[in-house]
Symmetry: none
Subunit: 234 residues, 2 copies
Amino acid sequence: MSKKIYIADDDANIRFIIGSFLKNEGYQVEEFESGDALYERFLAVPCDLIILDIMMEGRDGLAICAKLRESYSVLIIIVSALDSELDRITGITLGSDDYLVKPFSPVELVARVKALFRRVDLDRKVVSADILVVGDMRINVKSRDCWIDQKKVDLTPTEFTLLTYMFQHADQAVSRQQLLKHVWGVEWDADTRATDDILKRLRKKLVDSRVKVESVWGFGFRLVVEDEHEKSEK
Amino acid sequence: MSKKIYIADDDANIRFIIGSFLKNEGYQVEEFESGDALYERFLAVPCDLIILDIMMEGRDGLAICAKLRESYSVLIIIVSALDSELDRITGITLGSDDYLVKPFSPVELVARVKALFRRVDLDRKVVSADILVVGDMRINVKSRDCWIDQKKVDLTPTEFTLLTYMFQHADQAVSRQQLLKHVWGVEWDADTRATDDILKRLRKKLVDSRVKVESVWGFGFRLVVEDEHEKSEK
DNA sequence: ACAAATATAGGCAAATCTGTGGCAGTTATT
DNA sequence: AATAACTGCCACAGATTTGCCTATATTTGT
C-alpha cells in the first residue's frame, strides 16, 4: 500500500522538487507552507513520514518535531540549510530519524526515505523471524533454544512455547485466556492457573536476565526489559 | 540499555575512537579488523548494531552489509571516506540504515546510533499499539498502561476499562447506565453507585493531569481537558 | 432560604488475585 | 523397568480491589 508523506517547507520550489521525486516513487504526498499547518493536518489524518524544514513561519521544524515525538512514532526527516555539527546533532537528538543539509540531492533524500520505510518493515517482520531478540535475550524458534546474553538456558517445551509467544508480544499485556488459546490451544473458558505455573518456572530461569515477566493485576502478564540505570531516557 | 555494537574498520585509531565514545554511552562494543571477522562473530553471537567501514581487507563493507541484509534485520551504519552522492546512495540502497562520511564527528555518530535505537524501540512498541490520547494523558490499550505526560500511572482493572471507555467518549456526557453496561457488562437496571466509586478513585489518580472527570448532575460523567490558563475557574 | 435529591469522601470488609511450596499423574529418558 | 523430568493442581498467606455504608457537602426546585 502506498505510504503517505507530508512535507513542510516555506520554499515552494523545494516543496515542489521534493514532492515530485517522492510522487514519482509512488508515495502520496501533501505539502504545507508551515510546520503548524502540517501538524494540524497530521492530527486529523496521520501520515507515515514527515519532512520538515527548520526555518519556517510559526513554530520551527525542531519544535514541531519535538511536539510530534511526544505522542507519535511517525518517521521524521529534518532538512535544513543549517550545517553545523551542533545543528545536526540537535535535530537528531530532538527526535528526528534523519537530518539532511540543504542543498541536498533529491535522489539521496528518496534513498533515505526508502531506508527508513525499510527499517520499519524490518522491525515489523521481526515478529515472524526465526530469531527473536528482546533485551539481552534471544531465542531461536527453529532450533528451539534460548540464550541470556551468551549463556544458554534450558527450557521445557511449554516454557519455550510460552516464552516465544511473550517475545512476539513484548511490551503488551497478555491475558491468561490468550495464553491458553495460543500456547495450550484451549479455546473454551478454562478455569486453570496452568499459565501462572509455567510463568512461575520461567521467571526463575530469567533471574539473570534484564527481561522480566510482570504481572498485570487482574488481567495477565507482560514481558518487559528492565532498565537498570537511568529512569527516564525518553 | 546496554545494547551490543560491533565495529569493523581497518584503521585501529578509528576503531578506538568510535569504540570509546560508544562505550562511554554504556554500549557493549566489540571491534574487528575486517568485515569478514565481524560477520563470523555475528553469526555466533548477534548484536544490535553494526558499524562498517567500506574499504577493508577481504569483502568490503558494502558486501558485508548486503550479505547481512539477506537474513538479518540488525541495524547497520556505513562509514566511509567515499563522499560522492553515488557512494552514499549506493550504501543506503544496499541496506544500511545510515551512511556517514569520514571524517565525521564521533558525537554525531553517537547521536545517530541513539536515533536508530530509538526508532527500533518506537516501532516495537507501536507495532500493534492502540494508543488513545486525551490532553496530557495517554493510555495504551495493548500494553494496558496509562501515562500522565511522562509519568506512569497504575490503574486497577476496572479503573482501566472505565478510563478507556471515557477516553473513547471524551467530551461526551456518559450515563451511569452506559458505564454499567460497557464496563461492568450489566444490562439490567442496577441500583448501584459502583460507577461513582471507581470514578472517585480515578479522580484521585488524575489530580496531576489536565484531564478531569466532571459530573453531569443527575446523569453521569464527562471527561474534559482543563484549560491550563483558567485553572482558577473551577 | 429551605427541603429534597444528588454527589463526594472516608472507612470497612468481603471477594478476588497472585506467588509459593508441595504433590501426584503422566511422559520422556536411560 | 527404573529414574528423571515435566506439568497441572491444591492450599495457604499476603496483597489488592471493589462495592457498600455512613456522614457530609453540593445542587435543584419551590
